[in-house]
Symmetry: D2
Subunit: 131 residues, 4 copies
């Protein structure tokens, strides 16, 4: 899928727009920049809410499947591993497909600090093809 087309789909959700998700060209899978703000924290300061981290990871994993298959997918279940507190800072998230079956898909995602590449959290989930 072209980066512009991917961005257009991502922009459908106000949740994605609020997080400043921007699709980047990727060798494999999908990559997004994310720019969360103080409204996404646990304490109005500098640590992102775990649910916001889950949101970014879920989005990247789901769009890895959408990008790869051209179909829509819904999350069936998701596991998130929180490795380090995620700061209010420029982040990047990558998503990639593990398996895209006729009905069931699997995808992974990793959230890192942009620049340092320091891994903050990862996720793996099961998805179902919509429609």
């Amino acid at each position: 899928m072209e980066t512009e087309e991917l961005q257009r789909l991502v922009d459908t959700s106000p949740v994605h727009r609020a997080l400043g998700l921007r699709a980047r060209a990727a060798q494999a899978g999908v990559v997004f920049d994310a720019s969360p703000g103080p409204e996404h924290t646990t304490d109005e300061r500098d640590v992102l809410h775990g649910g916001v981290v889950a949101t970014i990871l879920d989005t990247a994993a789901t769009f890895a499947l959408i990008d790869s298959t051209g179909a829509d997918w819904s999350t069936v279940d998701l596991r998130i591993d929180y490795l380090r507190p995620a700061p209010v800072a420029p982040l990047e998230v990558s998503g990639h497909v593990v398996q895209a079956g006729r009905r069931i898909g699997r995808a992974r995602a990793e959230l890192a600090e942009r620049g340092s590449g320091r891994l903050l959290a990862s996720a793996v989930g099961t998805f179902v093809r919509a429609g």
Copy 2:
């Protein structure tokens, strides 16, 4: 913990305030009303973003441990099971402690439609005592 004290802690996060999380008196564990809006959807219409569902569940599970122990806890990992699309509607989430150890805790949470009690999603996670 008194419901007012619990609400005060919940209100620390702008993420919780945006979701309209309101603590209710509970027999066991914690219960919150949630009132998400169109800004929490995948499509500006009526289905909540899976990350928003994760946010509500993570919050209820974490506060079940906080409420039960008086200590602060951080999410180590979390599994979310999405059972049905969650609507923009009055919701309620319950959280309860599975095990609160000296260092490691486990908690569960369930998200349902307020009124019907229809189960929308559930979560189970591992947590670590902060400090």
Copy 3:
């Protein structure tokens, strides 16, 4: 499903027979007695291997779906929470269906010491209807 029919299906697997899995009549879901031995431990003494605990939980969750629907189901993914070391001792495991859809099912299982009812581990998983 009748308890005898359930037992017959369980006995198909040599893994189940080695664990001494015995179906019991249950009000809801399925319940099995398990009688693991020293061959199921990490150290030839008294703590069961985590994989053996996973085996018992996976079996109970899967058979909850089989018992409830009369169809066969395969595990898509499974999360196991280990709460306490599981001893070489009489155990009991219960499984129950969370959701049995046309294609995808969800089930949970809990492993406890027989007698005391002390909870040792739990699991939740996603399953796909076979055939």
Copy 4:
């Protein structure tokens, strides 16, 4: 850790010996050959029981942490993703550390057919340092 020392620790468990787990020298993490038999199947024929797959993955993930730190670790929780039916055939499993903290560790494992390298299942878990 030397491969011989790793093998010695692995051989402590009768569960590992029954699966024919053999440590191989690895560039990073740990790698084991596994040689399950018909006693590990769901039906005495050719598909491994999901619990056996979980056992092999749990072992590889745990030993990745043991090998890396020289300390003992216990599984707190584990997620297994079943991608394809695992046959009674020569298999190989790799384990690697995601994070080895002072108290909490994370590790992953992947099970594949030996030879083809075809991925059969993967796992990710949270572990606690023993002692």
